[in-house]
């Protein structure tokens, strides 16, 4: 769909040009993610598939504790996220996301509510014929379909062109940083 442009950087950037294989493949090799999860402060004991049968997929090292309870490493990892959150690159991604989503959400929500309220409070207006059997209500209903399709396309386009690359780089950098403070595992 979208040919790769800009500087090639980080893992996965080279695969941008072909979207199919890229999406199927997490930028981190599979077995690595499996392990990452276990020294990840995000998931503590409750959340991480307690009591899974011993032969289960990921070779969960029995001793790897959940980092949140571990204190120090967890605290430092939290700092990583604060640091990333304050970084200019992240704020730019967030800004681009919000700049599209907030107005688009407001627009379609108002348009939908307006449609519903008009259908209940102004039936005469909605019943006004436009052409043949088609009246204002029909046009409005089909208009809702049309705007939904258009906004879906616009959102996907915006995300693909303006957010994806930056988000992927941030993801990679963040994971590098958290791995660093967690003691370089695996």
């Amino acid at each position: 769909m979208q040919p790769s442009k800009g500087r090639p950087r980080g893992v996965g950037a080279g695969q941008e040009s072909s979207i199919g294989p890229y999406d199927r493949q997490v930028p981190v090799p599979a077995e690595e993610t499996g392990q990452l999860r276990y020294d990840d402060p995000w998931y503590d004991a409750l959340a991480s598939g307690w009591g899974e049968s011993a032969g289960a997929a990921a070779p969960a090292p029995a001793k790897s504790p959940s980092a949140r309870g571990e204190g120090k490493a967890g605290v430092v990892a939290a700092d990583v996220y604060l640091e990333v959150q304050r970084s200019e690159a992240f704020q730019e991604v967030r800004r681009r996301y919000r700049r599209f989503v907030v107005p688009a959400f407001a627009a379609f929500f108002a348009w939908y509510l307006g449609y519903v309220v008009a259908a209940t409070t102004a039936p005469e207006l909605m019943a006004r014929p436009v052409a043949g059997a088609v009246n204002v209500a029909m046009v409005a209903g089909l208009g809702q379909f049309l705007t939904t399709f258009l906004l879906t396309w616009a959102y996907a386009r915006n995300a693909r062109l303006r957010r994806d690359r930056a988000a992927l780089e941030l993801r990679w950098d963040t994971q590098e940083l958290t791995r660093g403070v967690n003691g370089g595992a695996p």
């Binding site: 996220y81 939908y112 259908a119 209940t120 088609v134 209903g141 879906t152 396309w153 996907a156 958290t178």
Partner: protein, 530 residues
């Protein structure tokens, strides 16, 4: 109703059941029993596969049977459902899909619990997820019941009851043996079948009217006996202000509810990245939008060709409009074409119900095992495998849903789904949005947001004309009706948001800035996503 189409329909339906059971066993051959695999199918589906599965999960009996029935009976007012069902996907796409994929692992509670004290939040979100799922399940199984009653010619209670029990048993088998992988493939197969059936019927309706949509609408309006009013809003929800507020309430519930449906949220965990989650929603919007456009044609087609009186005569709530339309399009009762089409449509509808029901059962069993059981089990009790608990939970959810469906069998399925959406929008959406976007959100706020939406929504339904106080109620003999609207969304959705805000501003807890940072960074970049 002749014997042949019953035999043929049963044959086709058995074929579908056989295929799906084969998928289930084939998929579960290589099962390793990890939670990742059971709940999320290993997260290896492609966006297109997941898009079809989402469509298969979402295009329920409520849409295929219920909405077309409402359009056939009430004309334009049935169309509101369709618009709401579709527009809701913008909420999912903009605010939920990618972020939830990045933040959670298996359930809605995962996203919220990441920032909060885990236990209370998991219990609250788990409870509301299970409640929503059971309501939604009931709607689907009521649809299965009325379909069978029609198919077997009688309105015999026994046939309906057995249909409901049979669907319940099958869904438990799919889910507990096959997990997410089997469920997803069943949904994909079903989506293809349903779209194929709908396209064929739509084409036949259009051929009948020589492609002249105008004449289709005019004929429908004429046969309905309401004339032009059939094509404008107001037949069902016009009249007094109670009905109008009901309409607004329903509209709100539909558009906000989808993003809180547990079985839809759990679909985003089956793809590897947020980007894949987004692309699967784009696929889903295309498929679902096309499907709903066709159901509009089918609904008006049923009004024009079968006529509202015949539809109402077969099932008062209109749930059988499409099968009747198929019978007529094929050449009428007794003809070969009619028999074949009727049988095909009936079995497609069955497939639809089975697939949707399997998806919901899976999501609710995940909530029970991953959220509720994990939080409530006794410390020091013998730990059981989470997946084993989830399998047992699937059976439990199935039993409850069967019992409730037998009770609610005379309600319109689209309407029942409207209730499920209202509860989802009140209990699940506020807490989800607050925890994704509000820096100062606290544990108390999260718990209050869930219960503050869930309890009012359920209480208002109990006090509404749906349950008592009118001739169409579940318990016509009792009068507990204190709330005039059938759909509680107008009141309970704002209450859910309000309760979350109140709980947050009144709690002494200092929001954990670092964990908010983590949620925000993860949600937008996917760092550290499972």
């Amino acid at each position: 109703m002749t014997g042949e189409h019953q035999t043929l329909a049963l044959l086709l339906f058995s074929a579908f059941v056989a295929v799906t059971l084969a998928i289930t066993t084939w998929v579960s051959r290589h099962r390793r029993g990890s939670a990742e695999e059971f709940y999320a199918g290993g997260r290896l589906f492609s966006p297109m596969e997941n898009g079809f599965a989402i469509a298969g999960d979402y295009m329920s009996a409520a849409s295929f049977l219920g909405v077309t029935g409402l359009i056939a009976l009430f004309g334009y007012d049935g169309l509101l459902y369709v618009v709401g069902f579709l527009v809701a996907w913008l909420v999912v796409l903009f605010l939920v899909a990618e972020l939830v994929r990045n933040c959670g692992r298996f359930t809605l509670a995962d996203v919220v619990a990441a920032r909060m004290r885990e236990r209370p939040v998991r219990i609250a979100a788990g409870t509301s997820s299970v409640t929503v799922s059971v309501l939604y399940l009931v709607a689907q199984m009521v649809g299965a019941g009325s379909l069978v009653a029609l198919l077997l010619g009688g309105t015999s209670g026994a046939a309906r009851a057995w249909a409901v029990v049979g669907v319940g048993a099958l869904m438990v088998i799919y889910v507990s043996l096959g997990g997410m992988r089997a469920t997803t493939w069943i949904q994909i197969v079903k989506a293809v079948l349903l779209l194929g059936g709908t396209i064929a019927l739509t084409a036949l309706v259009l051929v009948r009217f020589h492609g002249d949509l105008d004449r289709l609408l005019l004929t429908a309006a004429e046969r309905s006996g309401h004339g032009e009013a059939f094509l404008a809003p107001g037949l069902k929800y016009g009249g007094d202000w109670t009905a109008r507020f009901d309409f607004i309430s329903l509209g709100l519930a539909l558009v906000l509810g989808t993003a809180g449906l547990p079985h839809i949220l759990s679909r985003f965990y089956t793809v590897p990245t947020a980007r894949a989650a987004r692309r699967s929603v784009v696929w889903a919007v295309g498929l679902i939008g096309g499907f709903y456009l066709m159901t509009i044609v089918l609904g008006f087609g049923a009004a024009a060709i079968v006529g509202p009186d015949a539809v109402r005569g077969s099932n008062a709530a209109g749930n059988t409009a499409v099968p009747l339309l198929a019978l007529d399009l094929g050449g009428g009762a007794g003809s070969t074409g009619g028999t074949v089409l009727f049988a095909i449509v009936a079995s497609v509808a069955f497939a639809t119900i089975l697939a949707v029901v399997a998806g919901i059962t899976l999501a609710s069993s995940a909530s029970v095992a991953h959220d509720l059981y994990a939080s409530l089990r006794r410390r020091g009790g013998k730990p059981r495998s989470e997946v084993a608990v989830a399998r047992v939970a699937a059976v439990g959810v199935g039993v409850v849903a069967i019992a409730l469906s037998l009770l609610a069998r005379d309600l319109n399925v689209a309407f029942l789904v409207g209730l499920a959406f209202a509860v989802a929008a009140s209990a699940n959406l506020p807490v989800l949005l607050y925890s994704l976007f509000w820096r100062g959100f606290t544990t108390r706020g999260a718990v209050w947001a869930v219960y503050g939406g869930l309890v009012p929504a359920l209480v208002l339904v109990v006090l509404s004309p749906v349950v008592s106080g009118s001739p169409d109620s579940l318990f016509p003999g009792v009068d507990l009706q204190y709330f005039p609207l059938q759909n509680p969304g107008l009141i309970s959705i704002p209450l859910g948001f309000l309760a979350g805000w109140l709980g947050t501003v009144t709690s002494a807890e200092v929001p954990d800035e670092a964990r908010h940072a983590e949620t925000e960074v993860r949600s937008l970049t996917g760092a550290g996503a499972a």
